[in-house]
């Protein structure tokens, strides 16, 4: 899938970084197959996908640690294929922080400025400001081993940002933090990125992080881009069954297009989604979120169903229901204040149905 380059004009929309038909092989194994995407200036772009999808390899190619087998990495209008990492002017944050253990927080942050031969007085000011920016004023002389995981991650961020890089690369920076801290850091990361306006490429396997942080998401799988779009579009219109599955669409039912606007699910249940877009006879996947399936007391219009079990999830309850004609149970969520049991009526809204190409 190629990049969507139609939006807007003007310099602010110019691509700060672009991957053009990047291919990468390690020996016989092809880990990237003609991957293309771009990040506009100031954009927060996320590479999302399961492990082994090529997201980290893409990041390493942008950083210059790996050479692409084919294709070009462009910074603005220039190809950086032959530029070594230390000349690319990037800020990089790793999952394991990679702080220099024998240097203090301030010395860690100052490293990039020292390499750029920034004057001592200016270095001191900028290091102080960078640490203050990540909420670590007063921690200048601490060594990494005297800092908590969250604080180390902040130092790593300050170290990457203090050099005012053209591009900030984040390799699963939140994965080593516990759940509560991860939420806080996510919020701060977003604020920091907005405040500095630095073009950011973020690698994660966590769809929640991707949705909450990104301006656009590149969903990858086995070295290919599956979908490249804004988070809300990925949420509402996943391109394929894999995309739907990855972002957590609970019900994925094999079906066949029997007539225009008409699907028959495996097992015989006929449904009529509002959009289809597949030729008659095509094998497809019908996707439907549990939250979009409505459960009603028995009677009324809808499909008769039997509740197999219900799982309490706080505000809501997640039910597994057996539908006559369907082999696998349907998942549906309903507010937890009413408990359903036994025979119910199920409403599958046609406008919420996603008809997907089966690429799983």
């Amino acid at each position: 899938m190629t990049a969507d380059m139609t939006t807007g004009g003007g310099s602010s929309d110019a691509a700060a970084v672009a991957l053009q038909d990047i291919g990468k092989s390690f020996g016989e194994t092809e880990v990237l197959k003609k991957v293309s995407f771009q990040a506009r200036k100031g954009e927060f772009l996320t590479l999302l996908g399961p492990s082994g999808c090529g997201k980290t390899t893409s990041l390493r190619i942008i950083a210059g640690f790996e050479d692409a087998t084919s294709g070009d990495v462009m910074f603005g209008q220039t190809s950086v294929n032959d530029l070594p990492p230390w000349r690319r002017d990037i800020g990089l944050v790793f999952q394991n922080y990679a702080l220099f253990p024998y240097m203090t927080a301030a010395e860690n942050v100052a490293f990039g400025l020292k390499m750029r031969r920034v004057a001592k007085a200016e270095t001191a000011t900028r290091v102080k400001a960078a640490l203050a920016q990540v909420g670590l004023a007063g921690y200048e002389n601490r060594h990494p081993r005297h800092l908590s995981g969250g604080q180390r991650q902040r130092v790593a961020l300050a170290r990457a940002l203090v050099i005012e890089p053209k591009l900030l690369l984040l390799d699963e920076p939140l994965s080593n933090l516990d759940a509560k801290l991860r939420g806080e850091m996510r919020y701060e990361l977003k604020n920091l990125q907005r405040a500095t306006g630095v073009t950011t490429i973020f690698v994660t396997h966590d769809q929640e992080e991707a949705f909450s942080l990104s301006d656009r998401i590149v969903l990858m799988r086995s070295g290919e881009v599956v979908q490249y779009c804004a988070p809300d579009e990925l949420w509402s219109r996943p391109a394929t069954a894999f995309a739907a599955d990855f972002i957590g669409v609970e019900n994925l039912i094999p079906a066949q297009v029997t007539a225009p606007g008409q699907l028959t699910c495996a097992g015989g249940l006929a449904v009529a989604p509002t959009t289809v877009g597949f030729a008659q006879g095509a094998e497809v996947i019908l996707g439907l979120r549990a939250s979009d399936v409505a459960i009603q007391p028995k009677g009324g219009t809808g499909l008769p169903a039997t509740i197999l079990d219900g799982e309490y999830r706080g505000r809501e309850r997640l039910y597994r229901l057996a539908l006559p004609g369907l082999e696998r149970p349907v998942l549906a969520s309903a507010p937890s204040d009413i408990a359903f049991d036994g025979e119910v009526t199920l409403c599958l809204p046609p406008e919420k149905m996603m008809v997907l190409h089966d690429d799983r």
């Binding site: 950083a63 640690f65 070594p84 230390w86 002017d89 490293f111 390499m115």
Partner: protein, 280 residues
Amino acid sequence: MTGKRDIPWLLASPGILLVTLVALLPAAILIVKAFQDVDTGALTLENFQAIFDSKIFGQAFWRTLRIAFFVTLVSVIGGYPLALLIARANPRYSLVIFVIVLFPLMVSVVVRTFGWVVILGPAGIVNEALMGIGLISEPLTMTQNEFGIVVGETHLLMPYMVLALLSVLRKLEPQLEEAALSLGANPLVAFFRVILPMTVPGLLSGVLLVFSLAITAFATPLVMGGARTPLLSTLVYRYALTSYDWASAAAVAFVLAVIAVAFVAVQKTVAWMWMSRHEF
């Protein structure tokens, strides 16, 4: 009655007994002998006076330190890149290099040293080759001198340096170097500013191993150095078994032990200072 706390001592007692009998006791006897008059048995410093006055001791003393210094230096310069290569190379190649580096440790010292005589001797491979292509007309003297000893000992001791360095290099996260590169350090700067400081502990223990083994080496200096280039270790042998001068032999051995202990003390101090300064 034996309590629980006595069990480790009990289990270790054969080992303790052995070490006491074959190492500690002879060492104690040696120290006493070094300070005793051979005939009367009275305590004296004459033995040391005698060896300090002899020219051959002074030469051997400085030669021992010089050779140990060069062996350590060459082991660091040669061993570091090797360790780096083994730590970084693709596992298949790194195993091959690793085995080649460790191979000298599996061959008898005497065999290995005579191998060097074959290579470096007056009619050895190197001299034959150099004379064959006409670079030299007279064979170079590469054995029976300090050069030969340094070559032989370095070959023997470099593996220890490589092993000591590998133990720290293998624990080094590759991201540290990548972080340095991304911050604008070229690979050379990244090496000296990030990798080297992180491997100082391994370097220090490698230096300790190589230097103390180098000052006490015996077979290599004997074969490669010959009679004209005695070291403290070969001097002990000569006093004890050639001239039957046990008092001088004991005194020289004592000096050698003092050098070894002093070096360990210096190394430990440097290591301790470095560690505390860098908060390891």
